[in-house]
């Protein structure tokens, strides 16, 4: 029961991951803001390191790590439930001796 719910969680999150992959990236670079962020609405043209790969990598890492963690919980739960089932069968067989 629990396992099925977690499976549903994994599947729905995977669908949502598709939605995240639609970003149009221009590029930008620079030094940092120390005391406060200042908003601006347009992007000027640029030079050095393109920002997009890093941005995408950051979000992708979070998604992947999250899914990996959920998967690991799912697998461990599966093992526990399997042990429980085999234990119950053993005790039933042993009781019916």
């Amino acid at each position: 029961m629990i396992r099925r719910r977690l499976g549903a969680a994994l599947v729905s999150i995977m669908w949502l991951a598709v939605g995240v992959l639609a970003q149009a990236p221009p590029t930008g670079q620079t030094p940092s803001a120390q005391d406060g962020f200042v908003p601006v609405t347009e992007l000027p043209p640029t030079q050095q390191l393109p920002a997009a790969p890093y941005l995408i990598a950051a979000y992708a890492f979070i998604w992947i790590a999250l899914l990996a963690y959920l998967f690991s919980i799912w697998r461990r739960l599966g093992r526990v439930e399997q042990d429980m089932r085999s234990l119950r069968e053993r005790s039933r067989k042993g009781g019916a001796r």
Partner: protein, 221 residues
């Protein structure tokens, strides 16, 4: 509690689906431009980490002093989530730093202590796995000490001159840019709900394990 799981899951999933839109609609920051958008997952990761460290620290203390087995389950769940959200924060921070400052890492106060916090909780997980009998108590001590260092890390940026943006950035965001602030609040809420979900799932696993142990003990009788 169980009944809330599915609705909470749906709401969280919805929030994460909407999050990219909220983030894209937020204005760019004037000096960092596009790469600053990592901020909307970076800061909420650390906020979720604060939540999980609090859970782990309090649960460890309760387990150590009251011997409550349920507290021990929350402690291990909190520790795993601390390691997870810490990894999120460190990796997103490194990627942001590479673009914004040109370097992957810097040994300033906050980064160093954040990395050490991550190591403390990885140590927690290792103790639980390798220390043999009585490992839960040792891990609980690690949890308490790890939670004690967290406030040092938060304030560290204000005390030391460092390349990392100060805590005043987020606090002043309400006035300087309400749109950014709203996007940040939205992502923080999404992450905190994710934290609750993951905590619930992990504690469920521990409860199942405890039930399995009971079955084993009953079988031996």
């Amino acid at each position: 509690m169980r009944k809330l799981f599915l609705p909470l899951l749906v709401v969280t999933a919805g929030m994460f689906a909407y999050a990219p839109i909220a983030i894209a609609n937020a204005p760019y920051e004037s000096t960092m431009l596009l790469i600053q958008k990592i901020f909307y997952f970076h800061v909420p990761s650390w906020i979720a980490l604060t939540a999980s460290i609090t859970v782990c620290g309090v649960a460890s203390a309760v387990y150590l002093f009251k011997g409550s087995a349920a507290a021990d389950r929350y402690a291990v769940a909190g520790a795993e989530l601390t390691a997870l959200f810490g990894a999120f924060g460190l990796v997103t921070g490194m990627l942001w730093a590479r673009k914004a400052w040109g370097i992957w890492w810097e040994w300033d106060a906050r980064l160093t202590m954040a990395l050490m916090l991550e190591l403390v909780f990885i140590g927690y997980l290792m103790v639980r796995k390798f220390a043999g009998p009585g490992a839960e108590k040792l891990a609980a001590a690690m949890g308490i000490f790890g939670a004690a260092t967290a406030p040092f890390i938060y304030k560290s940026v204000d005390w030391w001159r460092t390349i990392h943006p100060k805590t005043s950035v987020v606090r002043s965001l309400g006035e300087t840019s309400p749109e950014m602030y709203n996007a940040l609040l939205f992502c923080t809420a999404a992450f905190l709900m994710l934290f609750v979900l993951l905590l619930a799932a992990r504690v469920m696993l521990e409860n199942e394990r405890a039930a399995l142990d009971e079955l084993y003990l009953a079988e031996e009788d």
